[in-house]
Symmetry: C2
Subunit: 306 residues, 2 copies
């Protein structure tokens, strides 16, 4: 029985960074998310791939108790493909080409077994599909939504309808500004909270995470890395660490959310150390615990002595 359900994309990515270039590597929001989350809890994945997809390449996820019953193979088309590049400012992805392929006809179907999952992550897909996923689940403890500028610009009303139904929004800084029409993050987050969610988690790339609920603020910088190789999937890996941790602890209270944000940050910091899902794929629990502690150490300081 899965605890955490994710609906999103599984893709083949082609990526260029100042440090190298890869073609047709594993990617997609649901895959990066699951790769991270499966260290912490049993995950069920709802996504679609095409006839060209090599299922063997993700068989390792089954050993981490990932349930693939919701991964639909659409033989009529090819797998979703994204081709992007980054310059030295690794915060900014430049899309060179997007081939939607099977995503165009994707209608997410949540398997019966998945419908009682306590935690649900709606990765960045069409808000209408996100709403359709919500309609199929029972009563999760926490529904968390991610989105992107494309939906904010093209399906604003539908997106806001879904946001009213979720407990938390994970969004990047520029997107929060765009969706809230507020430059200031505190004001922007407050506007979203007024629409329903109890909590907004703002991703700021190499600058870390800003989280706000109705009463409190939590700030986490990013883990300082000497070599950032490929940021693709960092946001979804963050979400995977975050929700995997929540599901592992089994609640979504403020203290757990703070630890989960740190865990998401830790997992994202591993993700960017290699292309695709490679670094997280071979990660050990001890590395995760060690980096969590090191990160905590980088943020500790004494009381004011005045």
């Amino acid at each position: 029985m899965i605890k955490l359900l994710v609906a999103g994309t599984v893709a083949y990515d082609s990526i260029e960074t100042p440090f190298g270039k890869v073609e047709n590597v594993l990617g997609g929001s649901a895959l990066h998310f699951t790769n991270a989350a499966s260290f912490f809890t049993d995950v069920g994945i709802v996504a679609t791939v095409g006839r060209d997809f090599q299922l063997d390449d993700i068989a390792f996820l089954k050993e981490r108790n990932v349930d693939m019953a919701g991964l639909e193979v659409d033989r009529k088309g090819k797998t979703f493909r994204w081709h992007g590049k980054y310059n030295f400012d690794l915060n900014q992805a430049i899309t060179l080409k997007t081939e939607l392929n099977v995503i165009e006809n994707f209608k997410p179907r949540v398997p019966e077994d998945f419908r009682e999952a306590e935690f649900l992550f709606l990765a960045n897909i069409d808000p209408e599909l996100q709403a359709h996923v919500i309609s199929q689940v029972k009563a999760p403890t926490a529904i968390v939504l991610d989105t992107m500028n494309f939906w904010i610009e093209n399906k604003f009303d539908r997106l806001m309808d879904v946001i009213e139904k979720v407990h938390m929004v994970i969004i990047n800084e520029a997107e929060l500004r765009e969706i809230s029409k507020e430059y200031n993050l505190v004001r922007g987050a407050r506007k979203l909270i007024a629409r329903g969610p109890t909590c907004v988690v703002v991703k700021r790339g190499e600058y870390g995470v800003f989280m706000m609920n109705e009463e409190e603020v939590f700030l986490a910088p990013a883990f300082p890395l000497e070599s950032v190789f490929d940021p693709t999937g960092a946001g979804d890996t963050f979400a995977g660490g975050f929700m995997g941790y929540l599901a592992n602890v089994g609640d979504a209270g403020f203290e757990t959310i703070k630890q989960a944000i740190v865990m998401g940050t830790v997992m994202a910091s591993f993700n960017v150390e290699d292309f695709s899902i490679n670094r997280i794929k071979k990660l050990e629990y001890e590395e995760i615990r060690t980096r969590y502690s090191a990160f905590k150490g980088c943020m500790q300081f004494g009381e004011c002595t005045l």
Copy 2:
């Protein structure tokens, strides 16, 4: 007897932000620095102003034990003036006009009484003047240097000569990239440390501070404010809170430096709430202590439970 010496500028600023406009208000690196630092320790200021400067406007600093013996009034010229503006991205100052005026002939003279100061801050001025200040002091516990892109681009070798003589460098993110020719902050800071300083403090505006010494890293986000009014002087106010705190405690060890960074962040967060030096001028100790605690609260989280 002063504990903390600052050499820098005192200026009249004209500033435009999306929230308002002011003309000929008090500014300059040494003034913003002193305004903040004087809450924590006895400060001596070395700077020059012109015949048009209204000394009465800064008389309030004497009540905070600021020694003005090093403030030279140059009757041959007018006070340094800076005219700048900010758009909504308040991280980015746009210089509209700079009138150097008396700064052009400034030759900082450190009064005899100031030469045994334990802490020295070299604000952003010509590196040759910074070197001249160092040559006049005895043996400070900590010499801290700030600089800007203009000196990196026009007096690189002189600047590096001074950096070899200081204990710490406070620098903003873009400047660190420029001076080190490294995009990555960890690598950039390490390059500077290899030249002499034991510690590099990187200012990242609304994203906080990254600090590195030979062995350790400390990360502090910025204090989340709902209304940022005018960022002018935030960097120097940060430095004032930082060095004022070091001088107050009387050492520059890692634990003190971390608290000092937080104190600098707290003081900078007040500075941006109003134009010029206005907010810090009327600040109360209790407000400082309260914000320090609130900030600490925003960064606390539990151990990993895995």
